[in-house]
Amino acid sequence: MTQLILYNVFNGLIIGAFYALMALGLSLILNLSGVINFAHGGFLAIGAYLAFFLIPFIGFWGALVVAPVLTAVFGLIIERLLIRPLYGRDPLYSLLLTFGLAFMFEDGTRFIWGPQTLPFSIPQWLSSPLSGQYFFLTGYRLFMVALVSLAVIVLFVVLGRTRLGMRIRAGTLDLETVSVLGVNVRILRSLNFGLGIYMAGLAGVLAAGMLGLQPTIGSELIMPSFVAIIIGGLGSLPGTLVGGLLIGVASGVTTVFFPSASEAVIYVMMGLVLLVRPRGLFGEEGRF
């Protein structure tokens, strides 16, 4: 029993790490540009399939580096062509546009690579269990937790310590003033969007190695990411991180006791948080 609970808590933490990685990217874009990026799951799927395509040529490690970067470049193109004209308009329009993009990305990957689950090869030495008793502690899972932690730490260092990060943080508070002070807001928004999409791409490569690669991989992860943002509090990146891990563990633990509610439980949590604390756990009062 202990082992079963431990297994599911650990599993939940890993899933939660995905949610967090994806939700952090969503949050970045939402906070600075006011765009709910419905296509985020689509970008994640594109990252995963790009890695699948690249592995035969440059191996797993090469794909892990290159695929997210290519995804981010693709994201920058989409941002420049389609999303930039919608900044400052009713958020309804960017929501609908990214909604349509999500459909197109999912169907596009299905059209190119087919609807079946594809084998995604990770290095042999990573996929074997490390300990006989705790069979679920494979190298790949530990590696994934480490990499996600690293990505999150780098993100927070970039936001906290660099000039770009400072501008992004300032922009989420008052974009107009930042613009008046001489920062090119267009470029700032693009870079921020690219950063968010990079994280989606990275999450995609890692998720493909664990959950298996299929076209719906992104649309299954997007809703929990929304929930993570709402629970953590809109506008707060640490909140998003905590929210992601929290719902991951919660749905993992629920799997032990009441498997058919493992998806619904996170929405119940969201309802409770909204009832007790409408701005979310770490949200600032009065921002939304």
């Binding site: 546009l97 349509g100 999500a102 929405y267």
Partner: protein, 320 residues
């Protein structure tokens, strides 16, 4: 254009729309459609117009209306299948289920605004999807709820055979459409409806005038969700089937695009949007496997080129 000709234009438009709706079974086969397609247009139009009550007239961005639509479908289906084999009982329970769910969730979200409101409604919509998806032995899970359907209605004097006659069922649906639309139009013309418009235009100023804004938004939300629930029950009766996809967030997106495509700022806009969308979806899904890409592309094109919708463009042309 002065006020009077504008009014005449409105009346003429409404008359043309009603004539087309009333005569639908007569001409739809000639233009390559079928009666059930016409019924689907009317049902979807009711849902889109109900959504637009909130979206276009109150200015609240709800992206989770499929939940209340689907609750209508499942409420009707489960009632007819397990409780009471009666069309009206199924409809009553379906609408009531949607209303109760909206009342509970509405309490949690009524203070939220803008994109926050949109996100929370999207996320909450998924609860019911997962319940329908996972609760296999009651809802049929992924396969949907089948083996139930609309039943003839016996009024004593006359019997309305909506079960076997698609045309009869079309008029049955059109009756509920007409009543709902009349109620919504009357509400929008009342002081309550004018207050909703004021909230849409300037919430802060309306609040300063002493209007309890949250209460108005809550009521508007309830009205909108109830009529969407009614549309859901009719949709279930049309298909004699409940599909978990009716509850899915992609269905919510369909409703929003119908409203935007037709024109959010006009009363009849969502009807036109629903007609275009339903017919297009019907056509594309028979033509190609990749209908998702086409619908997605359609969303993108509407946002980029028709953000005001069909009626918005027509009105602008008429004004210039």
């Amino acid at each position: 254009m002065d006020k009077r000709t504008q009014d005449y234009g409105k009346y003429a438009g409404a008359i043309v729309i009603w004539l087309l709706l009333l005569s639908m079974p007569l001409w739809i086969n000639q233009v390559g459609g079928y009666t059930q397609l016409g019924t689907r247009v009317v049902v979807m139009a009711l849902a889109a117009m109900a959504l637009n009550f909130l979206l276009g007239y109150t200015g609240v961005l709800s992206f989770g209306h499929a939940a209340y639509f689907g609750l209508g479908v499942y409420g009707a289906g489960l009632t007819i299948k397990f409780l009471l084999p009666s069309t009206f009982a199924g409809m009553a329970v379906g609408v009531l289920t949607a209303l109760v769910a909206a009342a509970v969730i509405g309490i949690l979200i009524v203070h939220l605004r803008g994109i926050y409101f949109a996100m929370v409604t999207i996320a909450f919509g998924q609860v019911f999807y997962f319940i329908a998806f996972r609760w296999n032995n009651v809802t049929g899970g992924d396969d949907g709820l089948s083996n139930w359907g609309r039943l003839p209605i016996d009024f004593g004097l006359a019997k309305l055979d909506i079960q076997h006659s698609p045309v009869m069922f079309y008029y049955f649906v059109l009756f509920f459409f007409a009543v709902s639309v009349a109620i919504m139009a009357a509400l929008l013309r009342s002081p309550f409806g004018r207050t909703l418009l004021a909230i849409r235009e300037n919430e802060r100023r309306t609040r300063f005038l002493g209007v309890p804004v949250d209460r108005h938004i809550y009521l508007s939300w309830l009205i909108s969700c109830t009529f969407v629930g009614l549309a859901g029950t009719l949709y279930g009766l049309l298909n004699n089937f409940a599909d978990p996809h009716d509850l899915h967030w992609s269905q919510s997106g369909d409703f929003v695009i119908m409203a935007v495509l037709g024109g959010m700022r006009s009363f009849w806009g969502p009807l036109i949007g629903a007609a275009i969308f339903v017919v297009l979806q019907d056509y594309v899904s028979t033509m190609t496997q990749n209908w998702m890409s086409f619908i997605g592309l359609f969303f993108v094109l509407v946002v980029l080129f028709f953000p005001r919708g069909v009626l918005g463009i027509l009105r602008r042309k008429a004004a210039s």
